[in-house]
Symmetry: C2
Subunit: 454 residues, 2 copies
């Protein structure tokens, strides 16, 4: 029997006898009665066990420390007058494995920094149980959203010979320590993928609708709360659609996953709302029930210029068409102006990637970022350039190695009529949904500069 | 409208007018009528379009080459006398993008080797459409199997500082070409993970039931049809269970995913049965409907010894207790002896990993491999050593770096009562289900020694 089963069933049928294994969260001994608070990881809910000196196994359980594994046989008794809905009155208890005294998660508050150093144990706390169960549900919701609409899941390669998008921020993959790539495992320079999009496009031409969901890597020396060297991305790509349809898919996807966790992870969301971000559930309810705003980049610049005129203190107040929006600007727009997810579309071509479709103005590209409160950019997408000549010209202008990308550019020669897609940073989604404020706390074993524990 | 929608709907409701975009598979021109066979990637099924010289757009479509993208407006006409159930009589056609003449997939047979060199295009063929749609369905079925039973999906880290399981076969991850790891991105030696199991165990202690599903890497210089440098693994781990329960979970999982593709991918399976492995559907039906066989390693050795006595010509005929079973031995047992998936359990400790639970005989460990016809080893699993002292002793005996694995071994000190799990090589599962005989043909862009295209 698992504790989740007991919680799922006790309301719909009478349960008397229970028998389960669990870990000790707290243990309070008394002369007449003692109390064990137990959790087995199958649910956020603990179970309180009451035992008396006359129960079988009393002497061995008596000193059970926090984190020990115990087995309990007992009776479920409803407790309408207490905070918990029921408790277990033990008939028998057994200590299956005693935890050592130096178990670092004794009942007290710990700093996030300390907890990151024990990433193999922190996940036993309610905070990380909530975050990582939500992370799991979100991953499944994403698969469900796409699979139910006939998208094909593609595993884009992780090791890649294309450095096109890497821009010097790709990790090398090698079996040598001398940089001799000709003699290397692959006979050439290999790196870890920063994006599966180019490969995804080839698959979208075959299957119409596809998505990737896998790890991507960036050897970026930035120690912020939103960057990690290893993170997961979802990169859907759809043939025969334009930017407007792309926005629709992004919006539907975000709403679908919010609805999914509302239906399946109420307890975890409530815990996050109470402990990680006040108003979290409210924020997510608003997002799923309202139509996302769409602004052009040009409109966004006007909004920011007006804000500066009215005295808004941005760190970068030099707002002008052509600039890259900073996180402070993105967050101002979605958090203060609209209090809602906001699409920004039609960015200047010079600040976006070479493969984005040039708009008729010859200045902007059919790109779309989705900004959400608390995070800033959550999704980046675009319609792709479908004209071989224009694509090649953009490659040259932006110093992209054309030879390496021959196969990619050539897709345009073999029947290519519109394609659009986007990249969703999975950890940012988990942060948005849980209210966790540091990316290191939504990754099981986070990797950042000079930090490779476990 | 997508071609899949037309196929899904035409039997249950009357469809007259249709309008869709698709790619040209074949084009046969006649003086009176011409025929386009089109596919849009949403289904394996093609649509035949009939058009006459008087249709709108005739002159532009007239020379449409293979792989061009066209749009068709027309009427659906049932054709009970022809092989295809219906055809489209066009009223209007438009050529949206013309394919170049050198499109390499003209209508003829191509060798698998040639197709691997155009991995970005080969997926437009029916063979690869079948394989990769099945791969996608299998991935989803695996998530579904575990999520519906309350397992938590964990992304084990890809970049790791543990070399414990690597045994010299791990790729280095670096930003330098001089092998100076102290000055490297992580300030220490980093490699690509060969398994997420150790991290998975830490999470199973927190959540009870978890699974990973991610890429793993091996810098192995072997050019066989079953090895790749980059492949995906599923590694479930369950706390509080023993080996017997582990076998039950493996068997249920395999049967679940077979049932899932039987329900959702009939067309693809039939294509694979007809083109990749004769008797495929029969083989899978048997597997899902029968109880898997379980033999001990000792029994397997006896079977093989008897086979040799009776004249079986193995390459390695020196069969004795303590040997590692070769692929030929594994396949003999499941293909010739049992014609069924077979679990082999209780292997000698010396040929298995340090973390497997020592049996009471002190000679064997509680390990289990699942062998399946056509593949050999599909799953490897074990109950884990739960005794800190015994685990440490095994590390020392097997030259495993204890300091690196301090955190892992230490899990045993913080309340650890049984744990078991397994690793499923995803590509091997895809090969088993599709009948594809080379791992390079079930990976979108395969990576093998001296081979890194795209």
């Amino acid at each position: 029997m698992q504790i989740k089963d007991i919680y799922d069933k006790y309301l719909i049928e009478e349960i008397k006898k229970v028998e389960f294994l669990a870990r000790v969260r707290t243990h309070r001994q008394g002369k007449v009665v003692s109390f064990l608070v137990l959790n087995d990881g199958t649910t956020l809910n603990d179970v309180q066990v009451v035992y008396k000196p006359e129960v079988k196994g009393y002497s061995e359980i008596q000193n059970a420390r926090v984190s020990s594994v115990v087995k309990v046989w007992g009776e479920l008794v409803l407790t309408p007058d207490k905070p918990q809905p029921f408790e277990i009155q033990a008939n028998e208890v057994a200590l299956l494995d005693e935890a050592a005294e130096d178990y670092p998660l004794q009942k007290k508050e710990h700093s996030p920094e300390f907890l990151r150093e024990i990433a193999h144990l922190r996940v036993r706390t309610k905070t990380f149980q909530s975050i990582f169960r939500l992370r799991s549900s979100l991953a499944y919701a994403i698969h469900k959203f796409f699979q139910e609409q006939n998208y094909v899941y593609v595993n884009a390669p992780i090791i890649t010979g294309n450095d096109a998008e890497g821009a010097g921020e790709a990790f090398l993959v090698t079996t040598r320590t001398d940089g001799n790539h000709e003699e290397d495992f692959f006979g050439k320079k290999a790196s870890l993928s920063v994006s599966g999009q180019l490969h995804a496009e080839a698959y979208a031409q075959a299957f119409n609708k596809i998505y990737t969901f896998g790890p991507t890597f960036r050897a970026e020396e930035s120690n912020t709360s939103r960057h990690a060297a290893e993170f997961w991305m979802i990169e859907p790509e759809i043939a025969f659609i334009d930017l407007a349809k792309n926005l629709e898919i992004i919006e539907n996807m975000i709403k679908f996953v919010i609805n999914y966790v509302f239906e399946n992870n109420k307890a975890e969301l409530e815990f996050c709302d109470a402990n990680l971000e006040e108003g979290l559930i409210n924020k997510l309810t608003n997002a799923k029930d309202s139509k996302f705003v769409t602004n052009t980049y040009e409109q966004a610049i006007e909004i920011l210029q007006k804000a500066v005129e009215q005295g808004k203190e941005f760190e970068n107040k030099n707002i002008k068409f052509g600039m890259d929006l900073g996180s402070e600007h993105e967050r101002y727009i979605c958090e203060e102006v609209y209090k809602s997810p906001v699409f920004i579309i039609n960015y200047p071509k010079d600040i976006k990637a070479f493969y984005m479709k040039l708009n008729d103005d010859n200045i902007t590209v059919a790109a779309s970022d989705l900004l959400v409160p608390g995070i800033g950019e959550l999704v980046g997408g675009s319609q792709r350039e479908d004209d071989f000549g224009k694509l090649k010209k953009r490659c040259l202008e932006m110093n992209v190695n054309i030879n390496e990308l021959d196969w990619y550019n050539n897709l345009r020669n073999y029947g290519y009529y519109k394609s659009a897609g986007f990249g969703l940073g999975f950890e940012r989604l988990v942060m948005y949904i849980t209210g966790a404020s540091n990316i290191r706390d939504v990754i099981s074993f986070p990797r950042t500069p000079k930090n490779l524990l476990f």
